[in-house]
């Protein structure tokens, strides 16, 4: 913890605040020194910690897998190649089980999602004070008030990160739907289901109802995708923070929760991947 002894509320809020850089109405482009300043920045701000960690972890993923891909041999594989092949086969099988269309994008997309989300979630297992304290020390070196250096390590506890990915997937869903069924097919899917009737007049009456139902279903996809991951990790992180506040007894508790959290981390990465595949196959398959 940085600076003077904060109250539990302050401690938690400090931990849940991102390192924000943005356009403040009064200070111009700057790093936010408080939660208030960060929220004053509105949309024109970026969370440096979220972006930094997620991009860094993504690059680690790409670097590792690229290394394995470069040295991929048909002979006896090394440890890294073995691991990479295991992941690739696992993802490939998951995709083949669910997605029956032909697409060069789906499998790499699923692999990227799984590995990236997993790595981002994995940051949750780093004890909650380590990296923020380090950041506070570094911030202090550059003359910042350590109490106001915010640093949130787990990118998936930031709804921006999960929503960013979910909206990308959403875009792909719409793109693929239109590509396979045409624009009229896409509109038809939104308006002609689930209620339809051979009678034209009745059908016309059904269209608004159908649209309401289907549009909500469509929108629910990215939102549920984003909020599921965010909610799980945010809650997990919050419990880690609460455990970190109780003194010496945090050690066994932290260990127990971390062990349990390993499951959540993997599971959420898998669910995000699996749902993406399912949504994409729904987009491509004809009814």
């Amino acid at each position: 913890m940085a600076g003077t002894n904060p109250t539990p509320t302050e401690y938690i809020q400090h931990h849940l605040q991102n390192l924000t850089f943005g356009l403040h109405p009064d200070n111009g482009w700057s790093i936010a020194h408080s939660a208030q300043e960060a929220s004053d920045m509105g949309f024109w701000a970026v969370h440096l910690d979220t972006l930094g960690w997620s991009v860094g972890l993504g690059l680690i993923f790409l670097w590792l897998f690229k290394k394995a891909a470069n040295t991929a041999t048909t002979g006896v594989p090394g440890a890294l190649q073995n691991f990479v092949e295991l992941m690739v086969e696992f993802v490939d099988n998951s995709v083949k089980d669910t997605f029956h269309g032909k697409s060069k994008l789906i499998a790499p997309l699923a692999l990227t999602i799984f590995c990236w989300v997993f790595l981002m979630n994995l940051m949750d297992l780093v004890p909650v004070d380590f990296l923020p304290m380090l950041a506070a020390k570094i911030g202090a070196m550059f003359g910042a008030d350590p109490a106001h250096v915010y640093f949130k390590v787990v990118p998936t506890t930031d709804v921006n990160a999960t929503l960013g990915m979910a909206l990308s997937v959403f875009g792909l869903i719409i793109f693929y739907t239109i590509r396979t069924k045409g624009f009229s097919g896409f509109i038809g899917e939104l308006t002609l289901h689930p209620f339809n009737s051979p009678n034209k007049l009745v059908q016309a009456l059904f269209i608004p109802v159908n649209f309401l139902l289907e549009f909500v279903t469509l929108l629910a996809k990215p939102i549920s995708l984003a909020l599921r991951l965010f909610g799980n990790l945010y809650a997990g992180e919050l419990i880690f923070i609460l455990i970190a506040m109780i003194g010496l007894w945090q050690l066994p508790l932290h260990f127990t929760w971390a062990v349990f959290h390993i499951l959540v981390i993997t599971l959420q990465a898998f669910i995000f991947m699996m749902l993406t595949i399912v949504y994409m196959s729904m987009a491509v398959e004809k009814h």
Binding site: T50, V55, L62, F65, P77, L111, W116, N160
Partner: protein, 156 residues
Amino acid sequence: MNLNLTLVGQAIAFAFFVWFCMKFIWPPVMQALQERQKKIADGLDAASRAARDLEVAEKEADETLRKSKQEAAEILEQAQKQANQKLEQAREDARLEGERMIAKAKSEIEQEVARAKEDLRAQVSRLAVLGAERILESSIDEKQHAAIVDKLAKEL
């Protein structure tokens, strides 16, 4: 929990990662996997083929062994037969030769006996003449009496 530009940044990063993965990671790994799969399949194929070949070769070897054993037995039998024949022949030859030799020896003995008889007869006749000469005290004409003695000798 402010929605802000981070969302866009994350989406861009995501797009880049997916693109990179699709372009540079997925194809080589998949290719390596498929090639290895093919290699293993080929290897298994070759192994089963080799096993089949081995079986055939073993059968062939068995067949050859059996044939050569049979041939050897035949040759051995023939050789024995031949040897028996030769032995029989030799035995027959020996018997004939023996008989011939016995016959020859018999005739020689007979000749010998005849000669000895002749000699004895001659000597007896001379002895008789000599005896007679002694008896008659050389009064007898040898030539005249020789015929008588010969006649006598022949009667012996």
